[in-house]
């Protein structure tokens, strides 16, 4: 799908090696994939595959050892205003000395907008994630799910073209996670955003994604790109219980297990 949609993001030969010489640790090897406008792409892989490293490289928070990321055809040289990030650990990504509203407004620090406009936009952004009335609360007064909603509001306020999420719901309780998954999907459809979400939860990936990029391990390479033809409308009950969902889930799970086993065998046979 999405072949009719223009290309938004091209990950072009991204590689990352930490250290040099005998202590060198190759984490990413020649990662290539495209993301189209309005597409929801999930990145999954065995734990320790270097998903976060990949995400840091493709948002320019970290310099790759080789390769580049093209946004709308132009190579990224640093963090871009067109890309927003939602980080995994909400307790560490919100400023505890700022209210929810100030945390959200922080993303507009570089805009020349008048203060009143920023205030209104922050309140609207909080409202769009269901947090009206919590504007003047501090992050530590909010539950985990609410804190991550603040982080999502903060990411959305700049109206990014691409939303990158690093295991955003990993440390959130199961029920809230389902709500936030639906919220993310809804916001993505409403705003026609391109979303790239890293997760270790295969069900989550299948439920959310239009395509799943499955990574292998040691070093991470693109093992397979799985098309998820579950349509635009998803439902936590019917979608997850559908036959197709189960098949996709088993397929991705199989790929990851394979990658995991291969990594184990290689580790056992020792370095070449």
């Amino acid at each position: 799908m999405n072949l009719t949609h223009p290309l938004r993001l091209r990950i072009d030969g991204l590689s990352k090696t930490y250290g040099t010489g005998s202590t060198a640790n190759e984490v990413l090897r020649d990662i290539n994939f495209d993301v189209h406008t309005g597409e929801f792409v999930c990145l999954v892989g065995p734990s320790g595959a270097g998903k976060t490293t990949l995400l840091r490289c493709l948002t320019s928070l970290m310099a790759p050892s080789a390769g580049q990321v093209l946004l709308d055809g132009k190579a990224l040289t640093g963090p871009s205003p067109k890309i927003s990030i939602v980080f995994q650990e909400y307790t560490r990504s919100l400023m505890p000395w700022m209210t929810a509203e100030k945390n959200v407004a922080l993303a507009l620090s570089n805009s020349k907008l008048p203060r009143a406009t920023v205030k209104k936009m922050s309140r609207d952004a909080l409202a769009s994630v269901g947090l009206s009335g919590s504007e003047s609360q501090y992050p530590w007064q909010l539950s985990g799910g609410m804190q991550q909603r603040v982080a999502i509001a903060r990411a959305l306020i700049t109206e990014p073209e691409v939303l990158v999420m690093d295991e955003p719901f990993a440390s959130i309780d199961a029920q809230t996670r389902l709500e936030l998954e639906d919220l993310t999907r809804r916001l993505q459809t409403e705003r026609k955003m391109t979303v790239m979400l890293v997760t270790h939860d295969i069900d989550e990936a299948v439920y959310l994604a239009d395509r799943i990029v499955v990574l292998s391990k040691n070093p991470a390479t693109v093992q397979e790109i799985v098309e998820v033809n579950l349509g635009v409308e998803r439902d936590q009950f019917t979608t997850r219980e559908s036959h197709q969902f189960g098949e996709l889930r088993s397929h991705v799970l199989g790929l990851i297990r394979e990658a995991q086993n291969r990594a184990k065998t290689e580790a056992a046979s020792g370095p070449q």
Partner: protein
């Protein structure tokens, strides 16, 4: 009711100590331990308010000036050293060496250089209080969560904005700790510098009283110092709790969960 109970419980031991001292001082007739009534009389004669404008206000002015200089320069130096690795590597050994000198030892060289006037007092107080502030600021910056910096980087904030919205507020609790230690240092140095080389001031008067075996004045001076020290620390804690409300409450919330 709760506040009343707190005062009653907190005041219990002090009242007991004073009463015990009173009984003992009255019985012992040791001239160095005058009974509290005499101390209070002397206190009133000296500090309410005969000597206040000549010997307390100037001391406190020096103290305030020196402390403010110490806090500003300490935080700025701490931020610069904390963020610029080369400067840190250049200056850290010197800082570590200098801070191991007991602050009171700053008095002789400063008196030599600047005389026994207010200038040398302010300089001594400022330098003594500077070290805890600068070291705490550096420590606070080092503890700043890199996750927050990822956030500011992803928002393309400038290095300057990053300092103001992430590094410095996150170091706030450590900086406040350094400032509190600095406050104590500054207070000690204020009195000590007056005891060693001065023509007026709380420390000077108390020292003079000691030379003339005027024990009531010595104790009255100590009482005055205790009140001032307690007052300054209380003011500091109130101000800190206001500024760092987020820190105190977030920790309380974390404990409650």
């Amino acid at each position: 009711m709760n506040a009343l109970r707190k005062v009653a419980v907190g005041g219990f031991i002090p009242v007991l100590v004073i009463a015990g001292y009173w009984v003992w001082a009255t019985m012992s007739r040791n001239p160095y331990f005058p009974n509290p009534m005499r101390i209070m009389e002397r206190f009133q004669k000296l500090w309410l308010f005969a000597k206040l404008p000549t010997d307390v206000v100037p001391s406190l002015t020096n103290f305030a000036l020196g402390y403010v200089i110490a806090v500003f320069s300490g935080v700025i130096a701490g931020v610069v050293l904390g963020r610029i690795k080369l400067l840190r590597q250049l200056f850290a050994p010197l800082l570590d060496f200098a801070r191991s000198i007991p602050a009171i030892m700053l008095i002789p060289p400063f008196v030599l250089l600047l005389g026994i006037g207010d200038q040398s007092k302010v300089a001594i107080i400022a330098l003594g209080a500077f070290f805890p502030v600068v070291l705490a600021t550096m420590d606070g910056l080092r503890r700043t969560d890199p996750a927050l910096i990822d956030v500011t980087r992803s928002m393309q904030l400038s290095r300057w904005q990053e300092l103001l919205v992430a590094w410095v507020p996150s170091a706030g609790p450590q900086i406040a700790g350094g400032m509190q230690t600095g406050l104590q240092f500054a207070f000690i140095l204020m009195v000590a510098s007056e005891m060693l080389a001065a023509t007026h001031g709380l420390g000077y008067l108390t020292m003079q009283a000691q030379f003339t075996f005027d024990s009531a004045s010595v104790w009255a001076g100590i009482l005055m110092l205790a009140i001032l020290g307690f007052g300054l620390n209380t003011l500091f804690v109130l101000a800190r709790n206001r500024v760092l409300r987020w820190h105190i409450q977030s920790r309380a919330t974390a404990r409650a969960r």
